[in-house]
């Protein structure tokens, strides 16, 4: 890690006080803070560049179109996609999944099968349920074990010639499990099933190479990797995206329109109807550049240390139970303390300036599996420190005293 202060200075909101205490921001799985460069880019766009894209011949439109498309190429390189038109901009991971599910509604037939897992976020469950309701396809679920690992033996049994799509999270947002997606993709392809990876929790934390993974589809959100909200990515292999029907109709996505017949624009515009979040996409480039400058290996190394340190310290708190102890884990810790409701804990930590998430984290099936209503969740980003963990552990001890 570079100088700790140097890194934290890049994120102005980390420097504020909450309830008269220095903010400790441990809710990075929900969203990360934004870098100065991202914020400056947003301001620069509206002060100097604002214009609609791909339409005007005028000066400003050229600038914003160029900058918008530069981000597409930056994302392409970031995940090592073969072509930049394989990068579709959406408003977030949720929309990316819905886009694909909506296209699959046109393709799937009765008795086709989609496989998801028990640890999926609701955004990777509900769109497929809707898809199945509309097509008569069946949704199959890979169970998880008590440590939060996918049951791969079961997965192999579920896979068959009817399986059309496997939609799996790269990293669980409530348990932190890093799934063996390379293996999952390989096994799925052996049965000719396509694979969507939900990378919402992974893009800022682990290296992504869609070509070496051979992922068919991969999606993530800008706001979870230091970028603006309202920007997401759906990567898809060119061949597959070309086979899919369009998602939404409107401007930008057409080639020719008449009342008799409309032809669609080529990739990526076929899937980008309407004016997108131009400013957000332009500023997103700065976030990716920052990650590249730091180096994803460095980020992972630091976060692994934070995870190990925090896990060790939390386990010393009497009555504290951690949910999700997979061998391969990202910097997310879900826990409860005997006799304490996670929400009470969250409220008291907030009073001490510590931001954590409480609740079911949009993964109710996971909560059901562990027979709990919810958990308290700590999630780290590269800018978090060991001192913050020490402070948080002290605060948890204090809250425990107040509540028990």
């Amino acid at each position: 890690m570079r100088n700790e202060k140097e890194i934290r200075d890049l994120f102005p909101l980390l420097d504020i006080k909450v309830n008269e205490r220095p903010l400790i921001y441990f809710d990075n799985a929900a969203t990360t803070q934004k870098s100065r460069e991202v914020i400056a880019e947003i301001e620069k766009f509206y002060l100097h560049e604002n214009s609609n894209i791909h339409r005007g011949v005028h000066h400003l439109s050229q600038i914003s179109t160029d900058n918008f498309e530069k981000t597409r190429t930056t994302v392409q390189n970031f995940i090592n996609a073969e072509y930049n038109h394989e990068i579709i901009f959406t408003k977030g991971t949720t929309e990316s999944i819905n886009l694909l599910a909506s296209c699959y509604r046109e393709i799937l037939k009765k008795d086709d099968e989609i496989i998801i897992s028990e640890m999926e976020h609701h955004s990777n469950i509900v769109p497929w349920q809707i898809c199945c309701q509309n097509t008569g396809a069946k949704l199959k679920i890979i169970p998880i074990d008590i440590n939060g690992n996918l049951d791969l033996k079961n997965f192999k049994k579920l896979l068959n010639s009817k399986t059309k799509l496997v939609a799996i999270t790269h990293i669980s947002n409530s348990l932190g499990t890093i799934n063996p997606i390379e293996n999952i993709i390989k096994l799925s392809h052996e049965k000719n099933a396509k694979v969507l990876i939900d990378g919402a929790q992974s893009a800022a934390h682990v290296k992504i190479d869609v070509q070496s993974l051979d992922a068919d589809f991969y999606c993530f959100s800008a706001h979870k990797l230091f970028g603006p909200t309202g920007v997401g990515v759906l990567y898809g292999k060119e061949k597959l995206l070309n086979l899919l029907p369009p998602y939404q109709g409107g401007g930008e996505m057409i080639k020719d329109v008449s009342f008799e017949k409309t032809t669609y624009a080529p990739l990526p515009f076929k899937f980008e109807a309407g004016t997108p979040n131009i400013c957000g996409v332009v500023a997103f480039k700065k976030a990716i550049e920052l990650i590249k400058r730091i180096g994803i290996d460095k980020i992972q190394e630091h976060e692994d240390k934070l995870l190990a340190y925090a896990t060790k310290k939390l386990k010393k708190i009497k009555g504290l139970k951690i949910y999700g102890e997979a061998e391969l884990k990202s910097a997310i810790i879900s826990f409860n303390i005997d006799g304490i409701h996670h929400y009470d804990l969250g409220l008291i930590l907030d009073k001490m300036g510590i931001a954590i998430r409480t609740g079911h984290h949009c993964t109710q099936p996971v909560m059901k599996k562990f027979k709990i209503a919810g958990t308290a969740r700590i999630s780290f980003a590269y800018y978090n420190t060991f001192d913050e963990i020490d402070e948080c552990v002290k605060a948890i001890e204090k809250a425990k005293k107040m509540l028990l």
Partner: protein, 141 residues
């Protein structure tokens, strides 16, 4: 002689004036939560549950001698503390008094600002549900 809603509100405001920091205020709410009698498991039904709270809240009401009596429970202790205050103010009152109560004390004692927006929404839901019970009882008069 029954104490009016306004008088109870005034008492609570005076009690909260004694606290000069959040810890004392929270500890008081936690104590109130712990002292609130639990409701029976079989009374924790889907109809009694209040939506809008991150924690689960069950609220029940009965009428006796034209007075409404509230019973409530929650799985979170701070939530129970808040319910305890609401019950202290609104229980043992006549339905029309409950319906017309302004409950300005909530802002005065800083309950709304002390709690997160999601919790404040829960607070609104709790009051709404109590008033709906009162409204139901008024109609059956």
């Amino acid at each position: 002689m029954n104490i009016s809603i306004e008088e109870i509100e005034k008492e609570i405001i005076e009690e909260f004036e004694l606290f000069d920091n959040w810890i004392d205020k929270y500890e008081y709410l936690i104590d109130l939560g712990k002292s609130l009698p639990k409701i029976e498991e079989h009374e924790k039904t889907a109809e009694n549950i209040i939506s809008g709270c991150q924690s689960q809240v069950w609220l029940n009401a009965k009428k006796k001698d034209n007075k409404v009596h509230f019973f409530a429970d929650s799985d979170a202790i701070m939530t129970k503390g808040i319910i305890a205050i609401l019950i202290r103010v609104l229980s043992h009152q006549e339905p029309n008094e409950i319906i017309n109560a302004n409950l300005d004390f909530i802002n005065t004692i800083g309950l709304k600002e002390q709690l997160s927006p999601t919790r404040a929404n829960g607070l609104v839901s709790m009051i709404k549900k109590m008033k709906i019970y009162a409204l139901g009882f008024e109609k059956t008069l």
